[in-house]
């Protein structure tokens, strides 16, 4: 009797999950199906599949989206590599050494977590304009390089928990601070650094407001921005507009399936900060 009860419970769980998943995925599936419709199919039967599928929508969208997607990849890669290199060596210094002012300096980094970039939008915009960096990729790369506080806090905790014995032999051999970091600490921290890196890439890929202010020209446009510009200003065939949406999401999906475990770990760590 009890087992029957439990089995019924499991069925209910599966059913509710299925419903939740269905509603969650409905918009995304609709996006996919809309992206292969010509204008007639789009207007008459927007929901559900229609044949023949118009894959030429993607050719059209790709022409507009290829360069912005490349900008995104470039910006995310350069900014993430740079910010995490700086953040991890700083975290190492904060965690393993003692020097005057250390705690004060660390505090100065920690409070950055309480300053959301949104409230700095205006003065940062002025900064970019006054250096004439608007509509260059530097307008994106440089501010994104400053996203280090979370990684420093997380990595510092990691380095603090490393046993001293790991470093003893190296120190006796006269290894410098940098050598201790590159030879011992960094390799062990790889999973954590990887998770933080993926979170960083995700944050950068998701940003819309900042690029729309300082990089709204073809030579610096990012994928998210290009998607909206493509749809609102170039008035493409509606299916092609949807195809552009799929293309904008594709690189992150590839990254997700290539690094699933690290990806989830990174999101979880990043979510705590928000």
């Amino acid at each position: 009797m009890k087992r029957l009860h439990r089995r019924a419970g499991q069925w209910v769980i599966q059913l509710v999950l299925l419903m939740l998943a269905f509603i969650t995925f409905a918009p995304l599936v609709t996006l996919l199906s809309l992206s292969v419709k010509d204008i007639y199919q789009f207007n008459v039967a927007p929901m559900g599949l229609t044949f023949p599928m118009r894959f030429e929508n993607y050719t059209l969208a790709w022409k507009f989206m290829a360069e912005p997607i490349w900008h995104n990849i470039l910006v995310a890669t350069v900014a993430t590599l740079a910010s995490l290199s700086m953040a991890s060596i700083s975290a190492f210094v904060f965690a393993r050494f003692r020097f005057p002012g250390r705690d004060l300096l660390f505090f100065a980094i920690m409070i950055l977590l309480f300053i959301p970039n949104t409230v700095l939008l205006v003065p940062t915009y002025q900064l970019i304009i006054s250096f004439s960096l608007q509509n260059t990729l530097w307008a994106l790369i440089l501010p994104y390089c400053a996203l280090q506080a979370l990684a420093i806090v997380v990595l510092r905790t990691f380095f603090l928990e490393m046993p001293d014995e790991l470093f003893d032999a190296a120190i006796v051999d006269g290894a410098s601070v940098v050598q201790q970091f590159t030879a011992i600490a960094a390799p062990l921290a790889k999973p954590v650094i990887g998770a933080m890196a993926i979170f960083q890439v995700w944050v950068i890929w998701n940003d819309y407001a900042w690029p729309s202010l300082v990089a709204n020209a073809p030579q610096a446009r990012t994928a998210a921005l290009a998607l909206i510009v493509f749809n609102d200003f170039t008035m493409p065939a509606p299916g092609a507009g949807m195809a552009a949406g799929v293309l904008a999401a594709l690189p992150m999906l590839v990254l997700f399936f290539a690094t699933m475990r690290t990806f989830i770990a990174g999101l979880t760590a990043g979510a705590i900060k928000g």
Partner: protein, 314 residues
């Protein structure tokens, strides 16, 4: 003993010699640390500390790209007199309030179900993480289409013969703000889900076993044991939700640009954004940014205070 303890000032330390350090040696000993921290601080100063101070200072000035003129409290007077400000904060309060309810219900339900499902737990988890990977702009873009006059929602309504309910969901003042709040329904897939799930999975088995021996039903176990144990995560997520929606404005920016009208879905963040993009009035924008920062800081400090008090009483 930790290496960091060992190399305390005055104590023997590796690798920079074992004598008490002179000034020159002090510079040599510590200089490297500051040098290694320098890049981090260079960026922190350029993109956090300087903008923060500059924003606060310039909120008291007329500021465009070319000139700065001290105007005292003019920007703030204008901000508080502007009916758009009141509307923006009212809209934002409604969004924050709704999302507070959302964060405590749907993602928690999803996480609890995935936590208790026996078959295919891994795949359910992947399924609800996957949509997070899709850039927010793409999600908002799809929902914008759904809300359109010829969009998905109206199509479905016509299909089931409820023609009279169709409308421009984002153009109608009665529905626009709610339409924006409903983006992402059922709000299960998201970072909140991941946090809840991790919390549920970290509850020790012994605690649950004890309840099972007592013959508690699954529902009772959930409400009497699991829910109290993840209360810290609930309050954390509640806090993060408040802070996030206080400042975020991507959805209104992409879907309505603050309309219908001038303030239908306007929020303070968007008001600030428009002061740059539409008016190039950086002083006014700085005043909005400074006000927003003040409120965010107050909320964060309040949160810290509450948490400390809770820790004391427990």
């Amino acid at each position: 003993m930790r290496q960091s303890e060992r190399s305390a000032v005055g104590e023997p330390s590796f690798p920079y010699g074992q004598r008490r350090a002179g000034i020159m040696q002090g510079v040599r000993r510590y200089g490297l640390f500051y040098l290694l921290l320098a890049p981090t601080f260079l960026f922190a100063i350029a993109f956090y500390y300087y903008p923060l101070l500059s924003g606060i200072y310039h909120s008291f000035t007329y500021w465009d790209i070319k000139r700065t003129v001290w105007v005292g409290l003019d920007n703030y007077a204008r901000l508080f007199a502007d009916p758009a400000t009141a509307a923006a904060w009212r809209n934002m309060a409604l969004i924050v309030g709704s999302q507070m309810i959302v964060v405590l219900t749907f993602p928690l339900l999803g996480a609890a179900l995935v936590h208790h499902v026996r078959r295919g737990q891994y795949w359910w988890r992947v399924a609800f993480v996957l949509p997070i990977v899709v850039p927010a702009t793409v999600i908002v873009f799809v929902w914008r289409w759904f809300y359109g006059v010829d969009g998905g929602i109206n199509y479905l309504l016509r299909l089931v013969g409820m023609e009279e309910l169709t409308r421009a969901w984002l153009g109608d003042p009665a529905t626009a703000l709610w339409a924006i709040i409903f983006v992402g329904f059922p709000w299960v897939a998201g970072l909140n889900f991941l946090i809840y799930l991790a919390a549920l999975q970290s509850i020790p088995e012994e605690v649950l076993d004890a309840a099972r021996v007592d013959g508690a039903t699954a529902l009772r176990t959930f409400f009497q044991i699991e829910l109290p144990m993840i209360r810290p995560q609930m309050s954390l997520l509640l806090m993060l939700t408040i802070i996030y929606y206080l400042r975020s404005f991507d959805a209104p920016l992409i879907m309505t640009n603050g309309g219908p009208g001038t303030t239908g879905t306007l929020v303070p963040g968007l008001q600030m954004y428009r002061s740059i993009r539409d008016e190039l009035d950086l002083g006014y924008g700085s005043a909005i940014g400074t006000l927003l920062f003040g409120v965010l800081l107050a909320v964060s400090l309040l949160n810290l205070a509450i948490r400390q008090r809770l820790e004391k009483t427990v």
